[in-house]
């Protein structure tokens, strides 16, 4: 085992700020990108289903009136 303790692990031999500074930002970017891309998809699907509903009602109104 390389690390004697957890505090040893977080300290990274005195380079903790730099090592964790790079990994934390990487994790934020990756999770952030996944969230953005999923949100874009969800919003679009919701939008498309609303349009679909609206056009369906229009067609029903056209045939009944």
């Amino acid at each position: 085992m390389i690390w004697a303790s957890w505090s040893d692990f977080f300290d990274m031999g005195g380079y903790g700020f730099y090592v964790w500074g790079s990994y934390i930002v990487s994790v934020i970017c990756i999770i952030g990108e996944v969230m953005l891309v999923l949100k874009r998809k969800r919003t679009l699907l919701k939008h498309l289903s609303l349009i679909h509903e609206a056009t369906k009602e229009e067609k029903i109104n056209e045939t009944t009136s």
């Binding site: 085992m1 390389i2 690390w3 692990f9 990274m12 031999g13 005195g14 380079y15 700020f17 730099y18 090592v19 500074g21 790079s22 990994y23 930002v25 990487s26 970017c29 990756i30 990108e33 996944v34 891309v37 999923l38 874009r40 998809k41 679009l44 699907l45 498309l48 289903s49 349009i51 679909h52 056009t55």
Partner: protein
């Protein structure tokens, strides 16, 4: 087994195929990231020169590789779209750009926080760093140009031109450490010579790179599917989709 590959060049069939592939790539990415980080932080030994600071390599090098690979992929798809007028290839190019830009940013960022303790500076205008920064501007330029043009097919064509012209920057980034006397170190891994690092370090780095590939493919496929829906929203097959018609 004969597979009609051209079938999947139609956005409608690609949409279905990509939907099946996304979970596989997502799972592979998750597992490989876990294994790669475990090797990087718990198996790979301390570097005799850089101490623990070198552990940034496990994200820095994969991010830098991805930034270049993805640019080439983007240019290839954009070029195919321009030459053969295939809609799906242009959509792929558009979907690659944000992920490529993110990896370029990460390569620059992790490089800066690595440079500070090792070189004593966050940034220098050396050839490697400057050409990587230009890569970020190329990605941003590609995305802003496409966003500024309303007609998607015209945006595809304009984007393709910028993507293809920008490809010249990729060999400049790659060979910058050889062509110029840079502060940035030379290639850590090369095809022609044996790696200049411990086997476990190399293993960790390669696993992290494959993990980044799997991640990039998964997220790009999700984005491609969204772009397909956006552009094909007036077609019958989209209005019959489960999420839309229910």
């Amino acid at each position: 087994m004969a597979i009609n590959w051209f079938k999947y060049s139609s956005p409608a069939s690609f949409y279905v195929l990509a939907g099946k592939m996304i979970p596989l790539f997502s799972i592979a990415a998750t597992i490989l990231f876990a294994v790669g980080l475990y090797i990087g932080f718990f198996v790979a030994p301390t570097d005799f020169q850089q101490g623990e600071a070198y552990r940034i390599i496990f994200i820095h090098v994969p991010a830098a590789w991805m930034s270049m690979f993805l640019y080439v992929m983007m240019a290839v798809w954009a070029g195919i779209g321009l030459a053969f007028n295939t809609r799906l290839s242009s959509m792929m190019a558009t979907a690659i750009a944000p992920t490529g830009a993110m990896f370029t940013f990460l390569a620059l960022w992790t490089g800066a926080v690595w440079g500070k303790p090792m070189w004593g500076t966050w940034w220098v205008w050396d050839a490697r760093l400057t050409s990587e920064l230009i890569l970020l501007f190329l990605y941003i330029g590609f995305m802003s140009l496409q966003a500024a043009i309303d007609d998607p097919r015209r945006a595809d064509k304009a984007g393709a031109v910028i993507a293809l012209v920008g490809v010249v920057n990729i060999p400049i980034i790659y060979f910058s450490v050889k062509w110029w006397n840079t502060l940035h170190q030379g290639a850590s891994v090369s095809v022609t010579s044996s790696p200049k690092m411990a086997a476990t370090m190399l293993t960790g780095m390669l696993i992290m790179s494959i993990a980044c590939w799997m991640y990039a493919i998964a997220v790009i496929l999700i984005r491609t599917r969204t772009i397909i829906l956006e552009r094909e929203r007036n077609t019958a097959w989209v209005s019959e989709l489960k999420g839309v018609s229910s």
